[in-house]
Symmetry: C2
Subunit: 295 residues, 2 copies
């Protein structure tokens, strides 16, 4: 526990990257274009936030990093697929992501759809390899991932977001979207980490509360950064939300209240994390890090 | 075993439909549009061929229909997702499927992408509920489905198909596409049925051989029907392959040799099915039915 948080993030990102590289077919595997497209987005310099939360949650519940790696990789594949599809012209129509042209700009729309499909699919292939524990079967782990990614959560958020574009939506509706589009997968990342550590029901509940609140804080801050940072700073198109008249926390509540909301969610996350005891130090540090991040 | 094949197909289609209806969220569940879109394509009058092959394969290996139902439903969700994405303007750009407007014509492109994503995801949620057997764990079942749907098989076929459009491709390349785009999921449907029945390694091998050959026969006949039937007869745009200069068995081999290929694959399927013994009667009947189908 002696290394800095920065070093902790770096080491675990590298672990996740190495594992993802092993799980994915080589870029030269036929048809090469699909494997190049999968790897292009998966290794585009993402922050690996979700996998690191999976790992930190496993440690917070007394588990080992190694046991959390397959599920950490699954979650990252789901996250990357959702970005590829979300960036499509028929969805958010974004040309840049993580400072690079988006998948459909490089590989064409059809191939981008397929690369997303393949990443979503491999997420389940990887999750099926995760070790069950005394309390959680393989079925529990795969089911957890599928529910978070499905039409009641992640896809529900995307669908509600797509429906709401250009319309005036309420704070409540925005919360519905953010809970599903962002918070659900972040919560799932943490729950899966806890499950890989054979967490007790009480531990899993605290991890879930922490995940929900961190996820909400994360999205509110994302909204704030979109409105206040440059495209270069973010690595993706800044000011996009305002341009397409997408409702955000700052646009609905004003910047000051939006920041207060982010603080409030982070505090609630800290309360939940505290219940997990001293092994949750990394989660605590990550909660603070997420609040002050600048990109 | 006294009912006709037609009645057998009808009864099992209805069983699968009832199960799918239970697995899927109600059409009114928020956001309603995504659940309406999922149900629109899933209940658009598909022939339920793959689920019926799952069930017949389970019976051929001494299993019960009920044990095969979750996996039969999973496969149908994957098949339906692949049709929705395949019909998108950025892929095959088809306006009709099963005699009805395609998903993106009704719900818009973005929502069609999401409906496909959600069906792909729920396939794994359903598969995670399937009962493991003495020989096959939940991990084996989910892994089997993920591999068939992934970038080495189903998505590989779609990607190679997309890349090959408008180009002159060889018989060998066409076979590469058909093996992955069609035969792999059909084989997987049958293997999953066998696995739900706790098939021996030998039974599973025969089922696999039957699946491969039935899948290939199915696709060759699909190519022939596209070239010889009307849009009304097929319920989807006929003559499409020729119009977009897509290579097909008839266009590469000529109609006569294409028919001979379909016969050859069907015969090979029959040889494999014969090894499964008398309980494989329905598989035998289905192999013949697939060869003479007119739509």
């Amino acid at each position: 526990m002696s290394v800095s948080l920065k070093e902790y993030i770096k080491r675990n990102s590298e672990r996740v990257d190495r594992a993802l590289d092993r799980y994915l077919p080589r870029a030269s595997t036929k048809p090469a274009v699909i494997h190049r497209a999968m790897r292009y987005s998966l290794f585009a310099g993402g922050k690996r936030l979700r996998p690191i939360l999976t790992i930190a949650s496993a440690e917070a519940c007394g588990g080992k990093i190694q046991g959390a790696i397959p599920l950490a990789c699954s979650v990252e594949c789901i996250h990357t697929y959702s970005l590829i599809h979300d960036d499509l012209p028929c969805m958010d129509n974004d040309d840049f992501r993580r400072g690079k042209p988006t998948s459909h700009k490089v590989f064409g729309e059809g191939m981008a759809v397929l690369a997303g499909d393949a990443l979503l699919t491999i997420a389940f292939e990887i999750a099926a390899c995760a070790c069950p524990t005394a309390r959680y079967s393989q079925s529990d782990l795969v089911g957890e991932l599928a529910r978070a990614a499905g039409s009641l959560l992640l896809v529900a958020g995307q669908a509600a977001d797509l429906e709401g574009e250009g319309k005036k939506i309420s704070h409540q509706q925005l919360r519905f979207i953010h809970e599903r589009k962002t918070s659900a997968l972040l919560t799932c990342s943490m729950r899966l980490g806890a499950m890989s550590a054979n967490a007790t029901a009480a531990q899993l509940r605290f991890v879930e509360q922490a995940g929900y609140n961190l996820g909400m804080a994360f999205q509110v801050i994302d909204d704030i950064l979109d409105a206040t940072k440059t495209t270069k700073e973010l690595g993706k198109t800044a000011g996009k939300d305002e341009k397409v008249q997408k409702a955000t926390y700052p646009s609905i509540l004003g910047m000051k209240k939006a920041r207060a909301e982010a603080n409030r969610f982070t505090l609630a996350a800290h309360r939940a994390i505290r219940n997990l005891g001293p092994r949750a130090l990394r989660l605590k540090q990550l909660a603070d890090y997420l609040l002050i991040r600048q990109c």
